[in-house]
Symmetry: C2
Subunit: 363 residues, 2 copies
């Protein structure tokens, strides 16, 4: 097992590849030489083309031949070289999924929906994390383009969708996830304005008079839309926008929530806090508890996404529930449909409706 193939092996012209493979039937002595479709063909006594057919259109080859080839594949331990296949085909059997935060259970659930659909069609999914940074997002997209993925599911980190347009010009289908868009692209989303409205209306019903909205950067569409919904709720109730204070933090996780809570504690607490996601809310909750503030008695709190942990929190968290798994599932179906028939495909914008879940934190 020497010399696994260091980077520049330089001279390796005269290795007797076939013999090495054939002679290694005792296994363990095989060495690192890869066995290719040709080796299989030789072993099975057919041409490489037939082996390729067995792999890709098994129905076109006679049952007995097929069996012989498959046995040769097993005996030699052949695994198809995906790069060569992709190169030849012009497309890989993979799609990309670019999310804002893999640490967020919301996206993990979306990913489950994606994977379930994709693996049925034996494709693979390449999961990328943009961390809400447009820079990382761009790098991820470049990698996906290099890999020649069939399509990309993405929750964009900002409103600039020009990178996506570039992808589509290259023939890579794109579906927006949790982000609605103008017209000429598929998208699957949840009505965030309605969600924001739902949350704040609930807090107002409960008697809140001074509110805070804890959020990530407003460049992120979800954050901006939920804010819009929140303000709509105020208008409906006949209240001025100034009763809702924005608290913007750079990261939408528990750390960001803690930071927001510090700011609020320093500046005077409101009656009620609406957080742009549950991670923020959990961070706020913990920081408030440490400061001796009682939820919901001193401050009511509501989050967004209804992740699993919310119901198990110190104070079970009210939240806005979204059909998360469905989001991933439908988006993937749309994407694959577009991949399979790009010309006959009509772009769709699908929008789900969110749902209010009331728990202890705002009771």
């Amino acid at each position: 097992m020497r010399e696994h193939r260091a980077n520049p092996p330089s001279e390796r012209s005269d290795r007797p590849r076939h013999e090495a493979v054939r002679g290694a039937s005792e296994k363990g002595e095989r060495g690192v030489s890869t066995v290719g479709i040709k080796d299989v063909a030789q072993r099975a006594g057919v041409s490489p083309g037939t082996v390729s057919n067995v792999l890709n259109r098994p129905e076109r080859v006679a049952a007995t031949t097929r069996a012989r080839v498959q046995q040769a594949i097993r005996e030699l331990g052949f695994v198809r070289n995906g790069s060569a296949a992709t190169l030849r085909a012009g497309q890989s059997r993979a799609i990309g999924l670019v999310v804002l935060d893999v640490g967020n259970p919301f996206f993990v659930e979306v990913a489950r929906g994606v994977e379930d659909v994709v693996s049925d069609r034996d494709h693979a999914v390449i999961l990328c994390n943009s961390g809400e940074s447009p820079g990382r997002e761009a790098r991820n997209l470049r990698v996906l383009a290099e890999q020649r993925v069939r399509g990309v599911l993405i929750t964009p980190a900002d409103e600039d969708l020009s990178h996506l347009e570039d992808l589509r010009e290259r023939g890579i289908a794109v579906v927006l996830v949790d982000h609605s868009a103008a017209g000429d692209v598929c998208s699957v989303s949840v009505d965030d304005v309605a969600g924001g409205d739902l949350a704040v209306t609930h807090l107002l019903d409960r008697g809140a008079e001074r509110l805070a909205y804890v959020t990530g950067p407003l460049g992120i569409r979800q954050c901006a839309e939920r804010r819009k919904g929140a303000r709509r709720a105020l208008r409906t109730a006949g209240l001025p926008a100034r009763v809702l204070e924005d608290v913007v933090v750079p990261e939408m996780n528990a750390g960001g929530g803690a930071l927001a809570a510090e700011k609020l504690l320093a500046g005077g607490l409101p009656d009620a806090i609406f957080c742009a996601n549950d991670l923020l809310a959990l961070g706020v909750l913990r920081a408030l508890a440490q400061a001796g503030v009682r939820v919901p008695d001193d401050v009511a709190l509501i989050g967004y996404d209804d992740i699993e942990f919310s119901s198990a929190a110190a104070v079970p968290l009210s939240s806005i529930r979204q059909p998360t798994y469905q989001l991933g599932k439908i988006a993937t179906e749309l994407l694959l449909e577009e991949c399979d028939d790009p010309s006959g495909h009509a772009h769709q914008q699908i929008m789900f409706h969110p749902e209010l879940v009331i728990r202890e934190s705002s009771r």
Copy 2:
């Protein structure tokens, strides 16, 4: 934008590819034809080899030439075809990471460690989820082998490591994560026996006399080792093994925890419960609370992993903390070291020590 390249286009022999690309300088009209290294070369007035050099060893080409090539790349919107590069090189610039559960914050944290190291060396990481199923694990490994990844980081779903041996015979390096192993492979793990001991010793110190161990399948090494540690703690305290009842559930998540709690409620509650991970513990906690059982007054509870949510739980959860991020980081460094110099590489087994974190749930 018609006909993106449907599956069997059948006749497309005489398309004038070059012209199509060159003529599309107004962009938007470009069509789907891909621009390759040759197009760039032609545009910049150099040979394809030079373009390749600009991409891979910029220092070998004169500054003025380099600039011209880079401009051509921009103008044409060229992105390198990763498959072709991989095919030629025999290896892709990617490593695989196979985890038991992407939904588990423990593995998400490991993944962060991996990604931070890997992106410094501008490689990519392909994240796969085995869902604790050996079958899915095997499929994932096959995909990774097809992609010709440089190496694989894996938390095996069972004790059968033969698939990994196959990979290594193909020249794909393997490092075990959170799993220690015999001798001829690198591994990075945490002493699970010590962790189990720590947890149960703590519960015994607190006065527990009848215990339960809530765990996933004992085929998973972590579960088995933690159990071993738990029993060692009993022996040390001079107690018989039968005071610790095993409650095995199929999935190590909150749902599994709830299931375990039902069983315990039906069969008579113990004094103290040790869960093989925090997700299970959170599930147990919630189910107990619903049944009106108070933690820690009626039952003490301790989890494992110390994920972020544990401290924010309804009853803040005691747990066993592991250096999770480090686990991913060190494992990746080991893997890349082995990839870079397979012959001069000595396999190492690194083992960290876990730490007891006491919170409300066992106070």
